[in-house]
Amino acid sequence: MKHTLVALVENQPGVLQRVANLFSRRGFNIDSLTVGTTDTDKISRMTIVVDGANTQVEQVIKQLYKLIDVLRISDVTNDRTVDRDLALIKVQATNSTSRAEIVQLADIFRGKIVDVAADSLVVEVTGDEEKISSLLHMLRPFGIKEMVRTGVVSMTRGAGLAARLGEERLEAAG
């Protein structure tokens, strides 16, 4: 089963390497991993999607906690969350019919056309994994020339995680 983990880490050099190392060392596969800044520059936030049995994921979390730079990890798989992935998709568009159809599809998925060339369009779309996968599925027949996805970032709705994360954040910042 896929699990989404959210980790707050100290913004130290090498922290990404430590986390990535741990996964390969313990034989766990990462589906996606994103890192970004938070409101404090001392702390970064990672969203890690892993595939594995519950006991395995529990072991990953415990091992991650042992990294000194890791402040907090939460398995938000069963929480109510907002999940966002962003994709840039370069689609073949050699004639006006396909061009129109692609624009229409992008529209339905609340995507944007961010680049137009003689024989292609670049569609930008954000959403959860499923939404992006369905758009991809629809665009495939036109011919996908290039594609990149950022990987999922995740945030719990309401107070949830924020309360749990608060204490460490303050301490690391202060």
Partner: protein, 584 residues
Amino acid sequence: MQKLNGAQILSECLLREGVDTIFGMPGGAVIPLYNVLHDYPFKHVLCRHEQGASHMADGYARATGKVGVCIGTSGPGATNMVTGIATAMMDSVPMVVITGQVPTYMIGKDAFQETDTTGITMPITKHNYLVMDVKDVARVVREAFHIARTGRPGPVLIDIPKDVTTNVTDFEYPEKLSLPGFKPNTKGHINPIRRAAKLLDDARRPLIMAGHGIILSEAYDELRQFAEKTQVPVISTLLGISGFPETHPLYYGWPGMHGMYYCNMAISHCDTILAVGMRMDDRVTGRLNAFAPHAQIIHVDIDPAELGKNVPTAVKIVGDAKQVLKLLTEEVQENPAGEGNRLAEWWQTLNQWRIEHPSLALPDKPEKMSSPWILRQMYHVTEGNAVLVTDVGQAQMWAAQHYFFARPNTHITSGGLGPMGYALPAAIGVQYGRPGEQVWCITGDGGFQMTLEELAVVREENLPIKIAIFNNNYLGMVRQWQQLFFNERYMAVKMWNPDYVKLGEAYGIPTVRASTLEEVVPALEWAHKQEGPAMLEFVVDPFENVFPMVPPGASLQETIESVQEVAPQLAKVAAAAGGSSGGV
């Protein structure tokens, strides 16, 4: 405020951490550091190979419970210490390893003797640092020592570029630590402790498995009090040996691949296990899916990641062995010894196993040279008072089996990594940590060849270490595997050896060879009486095997006790198939 350079700040911080002894070797990147050591009261021990320095720091740490410190230069100095760091990591030994690095402005340029030391050691350290600014030196050293010794101990590496050691800044010792991501829980929650007590009160066939954690947290009295209050038998892991007196009536030996037959039976038949400060290593558990099939397991460890990692547990208790055992002893019901002992029937079974399968029985006088017998005589000659530091292989196992360790922390060995060549340098570290004690280095001929350059240190420093080489002219443990599991197809196990008496002479270490049974005890007595260093070479039978043995892939229940049992047992194991195996 005092202006100091990075090397001085490092030294000031080492002083404040109570460091008295440093093991290492200088080189380009650490010359500025060595330059200031003139002005500090540390004893510096010059290793002859940095692997030696790393094992010395390890031995020192295991012997004292303090943080061991070693220094190596950048590049080869650092890579030579990798084995010692990994050893300390696997066995939870507190160490601070200081490595030089090329100057900050040369990092990434493939400079002379540049290696990515923090990259190499990331998976084998508890934490590591590359210090890029002299202003960070004091904080980093303070944190490194705290991390190394707090919670589950382990090695921390500080990689320090040359210019950082020469740059100058105001020195202020950071009194306060800020490590929000590092807060080990030592106390142990009362709820799981109460549940554990209940399980133990109800148990009919309970067993305590005591690991290295007992020694690391110095929980000797707490373990004894718990065992005596409940009359529960105590078995230890290889690294747990000497955490509980082996001469105590409640001690029941140690289990696993070369453990006592009866211990393996006890695990296979018990109904409750209290595992303290151990990590369910495959050498202890045998085939996992057949480990302790009837037992509810209560697991106590300071590292939450160990609980449930390898075996399912009924009760998980995160905490320091000493504190948890204390609370647990308060919570359990008393079970008085003698008449009315609730566990009388269990003890009867245990005693019966021990009578029927006396794994450690030896003749008073064997017919020919025998390594187990030599070790038993060593026990008698030293009156059980020595500290044994053992290498890896057959001799290691025989030492663990046939010497009886009654005093706390007197058996020191590398259990997790098992690097040949560990014993001599580790013994040097142990001797520095416990100068008043008689330290014996027990090694095979193969392992001894790997780090014998440190004999120079023994001589130079006149350390009274007694070195016993068990020379079978073979990589004995591997030969045993080839004999038992590879149809006697011996490959790369027979070894030419130098003349160890002459070698000893060359190093200025008095050496005696014992090739016959009659020579053994006099040789041991001679060494025991030497005030300075002494070396013994025992020329032993190349075809001795270590038994009992759990064949690779077998369960503890399938322990064999002789060569004749190997073939039929292997056939059974193959039929059952699967599970863990692992190598030598």
